[in-house]
Symmetry: C2
Subunit: 196 residues, 2 copies
DNA sequence: TTCTTTTCTTATCAATTGATAAGTGAACCC
DNA sequence: GGGTTCACTTATCAATTGATAAGAAAAGAA
């Protein structure tokens, strides 16, 4: 079953705001497709990057590496979603986290200069960019509450609601890291929740 | 001892980027001072707000109220700092959190329209705005790691490093909420850490 | 002042989570 | 096929954290 990537770009844009056919065409012409195999890195923390990304197919996660070279997952992206925008994940275009494909992935990527130029000309794309940022902050707010006042079990239930079926598709170590618990605790909670 | 508020506005601006005397004057003329007594609300979640704020004197915190009307503190602001910028804390100028004075506070507030206009004309203020956002995201990243992979004791130590002496100035319930632990656990950790 | 209220501490016990190690099963390599 | 590695589970025990209640100290009110 072949995936229609242009339809997915349209889906993502329209998920945030109204987009005319002309705008859609302009966006599609401004970027290119990029595919990554499971495990490959899309961009690296502390490295230069100057693209916006739409995740068209597959699952990816963002992570940071701490002093003891332990990987910490701080976000998970599923298909038909935008990756956190460039301005919010870089400083002077230097990434503050890494992005890795957890399954085979296809992205649509647009050079940041081209996208900024489009936004200047196009009201719809300005609105799109603004809505993306708004959702990003709402999510941020949810997570602030989630990690401060919910138990690990609650966080797993939250995860299952927001990322259904993902538990069977990506490594449990990644999910456990994302939820802020050890893989052993994660397995224990899974066991406990299936008993009910 | 009287506080020179203009000096503090200058301090805050220059803490982020170079600011000329002319720019400083323009900023000062664009806003007004606003004072709040301890316990008073500066702005409320789900209410309209259209200002940028500099905290010149005092301590404030941002919080949200959950389903069980429990207050959850998600950020603490100390004097000579900017409050999270308008675009990052509102959706269509509706606040996504509340801000409350924890001690008597004095803010410098600028209507968002006036500040946006200044930024359009003034390269220094554009840079200022950008740096504020950058620091905001860096802090966000720190907290993502802090709550996912550090213990409550580590978070308290982090808090003491970043907010020295604050433990004696604001309610412990606020700090405990901010750290994601109960006030009882907070007291226990304080006790444990003084023994060393 | 005295009384009341609020804030913080301490104690006890239960529940959650982590650390470590061993076991199971699947995937992969030769 | 056998053997190895990797991912997940399960078990045991220790450490952390929460819930509840009671006590001590500080702040406010009359």
């Amino acid at each position: 079953m072949a995936v229609n990537y242009n339809e997915r770009i349209e889906y993502i844009l329209k998920d945030y705001t109204a987009i005319s056919p002309a705008t859609l065409t302009t966006v599609i012409q401004s970027g290119t497709l990029a595919s990554y195999k499971r495990g490959e890195t899309v961009f690296l923390q502390k490295k230069y990057n100057a693209f916006e990304y739409f995740l068209l197919e597959g699952i990816a996660h963002r992570y940071n590496v701490d002093e003891e070279s332990q990987m910490l997952t701080t976000g998970i992206y599923i298909e038909k979603n935008v990756i956190t925008p460039h301005f919010a994940r870089t400083i002077n275009s230097i990434s503050i986290f890494s992005l890795q494909a957890l399954t085979d992935c296809t992205f649509f990527k647009i050079p940041i200069g081209a996208f900024d130029a489009l936004r200047l000309q196009n009201e719809q794309l300005r609105a799109f960019g603004q809505r993306v940022v708004e959702r990003e902050f709402i999510q941020h707010l949810n997570y602030e509450a989630l990690f401060r006042s919910y138990t690990a079990k609650d966080r797993l239930l939250f995860f299952r609601q927001h990322y259904p079926a993902l538990e069977n598709l990506i490594p449990h170590t990644v999910i456990a890291s994302f939820l802020g618990i050890t893989p052993v605790s994660f397995s224990r909670l899974r066991n406990e929740l299936t008993k009910n």
